[in-house]
Amino acid sequence: MSFARTHIKGLVFSDSRMAYRGLTLFTPVHGKGVWLIDMTGKQVNQWQMEYEPGCYGELLPSGNLLYGGKVDDGPLSDMEGAGGILQEFDWNGNILWEYQSHFLHHSFHRMKNGNTLVLKWIELPKKIAEKVRGGEPGSEREGVMWEDMIQEIRPSGKVAWEWIAHDHMEPDAFPRCPLCPRDTWLHANACIELPDGNLLVSFAKINTVAIIDKQSGDIRWHWGSPGELAHQHSPTMLENGNILVYDNGYHSRGLALSYSRVVEVDPRKNEMVWSYEGPEGGELKMLFYSSMYSSCQRLPNSNTLICEGTTGRIFEITMNHALVWEYVNYLPLCEPSPIHSRSYPVYSAYRYGINYPGLTGIKW
């Protein structure tokens, strides 16, 4: 439901007995700042940035903030999810580390060994691009289809490990969205390291989440296509080994009723074991929808924090779908872009519990 003018903004609802107590970190898409708020919506910390987000910030266990910024003069800076710079700040906003590449996009992840996983665009060789089906012929970007490269970057900026999609995935193995322009092939939008060292990746344009074997680069597991996911975001692995993912529902198959879902999948059985499809009380499905962005996070008390990206709505629900906390972003950091509605969209949101190591010693 995108008509934002009549919606309440700020803290809308809070049930302090049921909600998972902690701080919520979010990055408005049309701003230059990262905000950390408490359960009442009060600001606890704010980092002012030089760059607009490309696409979000994350609080590390060290208490530092790792932030993806968007560099405006890059060759691909008008692509969805464009980045260009990664910056690490301390609590007070001092820059500790920086990494630049015009081809950075969407997601990044600080690994256990201190290195950083990044996503980069790279040109897909023309001969392979010709074999990729789906999308209007000629809708490539100046004749080029871009594919995904995942790199592990050392603190020094050197590349420790690299994965290029076409080395491990056949051009026709996964049906690509027939409606999306052919400027990108798989369009990864998230990549994280799993406890066993393998990587969990979301490929938006083939509606698939996959686990990549870190040793061989092979796809060990995949799910979502055809027909389950539609341009999803934000996969994570839960402690029970299941995968939680935000299924945006954009360009979904069938009647094209626009609604999002958050789904938990058991990768051992490829079975959906839990889902949230909107508020209770009838199937008000389309009241929960974000065509783009968005995230989901399972919290230690088994609640789920959901960021409905395009409306800037961050809310927490129990396993039984009861709403226990809701906050709608309204921070007027800069003019919202005309294509993105009067709502103040947010790419993703994270809740850090009071015992999170990165918050040790912080007064709030």
Binding site: M1, S2, F3, A4, R5, T6, H7, I8, K9, G10, V12, E80, G135, E136, P178, L179, C180, P181, H231, Y250, H251, S252, R253, G254, L255, A256, L257, S258, P279, G281, G282, E283, L284, K285, M286, L287, F288, S291, M292, T310, R313, F315, E326, Y330, P336, P338, I339, H340, S341, R342, S343
Partner: protein, 388 residues
Amino acid sequence: MSIAKTALKGVTYHNTQKTSPGYTLFSTYNYDVWLINMEGYIVNHWRMPYSPGSHQWLLPNGNLLFAGMIKSHEEMGLPVEMTAIGGALLEVDWDSNLVWKAMIPYSNHDIRPMDNGHVMYHSYYPEGILPDEIASRMKGGIPGTEFDGRVWGDMVHEVDREGQIVWEWKAFEHLDPELDASCMLENRTLWPYINSLWICKDGNVLMSLRAANEAIKVDYKTGEVLARYGKGKVFHQHDSIELDNGNIMVLDNGNHRPVYAPNYSRVIELDTNTDEIVWEYKADFPPDFYSPVCAGAERLPNGNTVICDSWSGRIFEVTYEGELVWEYISPFIGHQPNMTTTMMWRAHRYMADYPGLVGKKLNPKKFPLENKLFGPDTFNKHFTPSIF
């Protein structure tokens, strides 16, 4: 996000200098049809024996023509795409007394009163199901998603005052299975998924084909397709109508648009000779206006356009320049199969001099209870949005 807690209701904006004032007619999915004035006061209320299959018209004689739903698509064992299934055509007078009725078991989507008193309606009769040979040539849609292995084709009928069908049109006999192909992400349950009918000044019929992303003009005499409009411009559109200037106005819902960007709907006016877009309305921030289902638009005498944003239960009016001058958020909650919703199918604005309204007492005081519950004096009184 509960509807009541977070949204203003009723008339939320009214620029009295710039509207084309009149009375707005709409139905909700709970047996009610409402006529409201520009302030949002209820000036007539029809209570129907059925929930709406699609929508309703105020006829020039002051009666109401209404498509009622007798059985849902689920009860009839039909696919979800046929969720606007009807079953009954009713004409009732100003006080809801039955004047005329026709039972039309497979009616779906649009109904259109005709000058001769007949009613044109859209339907899915089993005889419209595509022959295998045509189904195999029909392009588009997701392979394997046929309904019990078959593709239901659309039909259009005209029923006279005696309830006899006097004209019928079968889509598969006249469409081109390649040229009029379905969207690649649609199910192959239906083709071409007609969702609006309009009788043009030349007597021919304008139809919106949702799955084929186009509007067509059909020769009333021969059934032949005379012209195609909007291909590549509209996506799962509704309500293609002919304007007084001869152009065609379409509500382009915009789902399954071949881009990767937040969804938005728009209203466009197409030149019938060139198929060029000569007028367009979309919201200043386009996703503010997005209805994945239903929706429609009408051009008003002063050049304004009244738009029914069906999914949000919102009716609003914009000037030719696109300025919002009136907005109404429906306070009525209704029920559709598997759905509780404020949605409406389509709204119509009638000017005060419309023949069907002449001589009618349009006094809100006739409906004290309704206005107490749903009128402008009640809504928003105890609710002030914290931030605009």
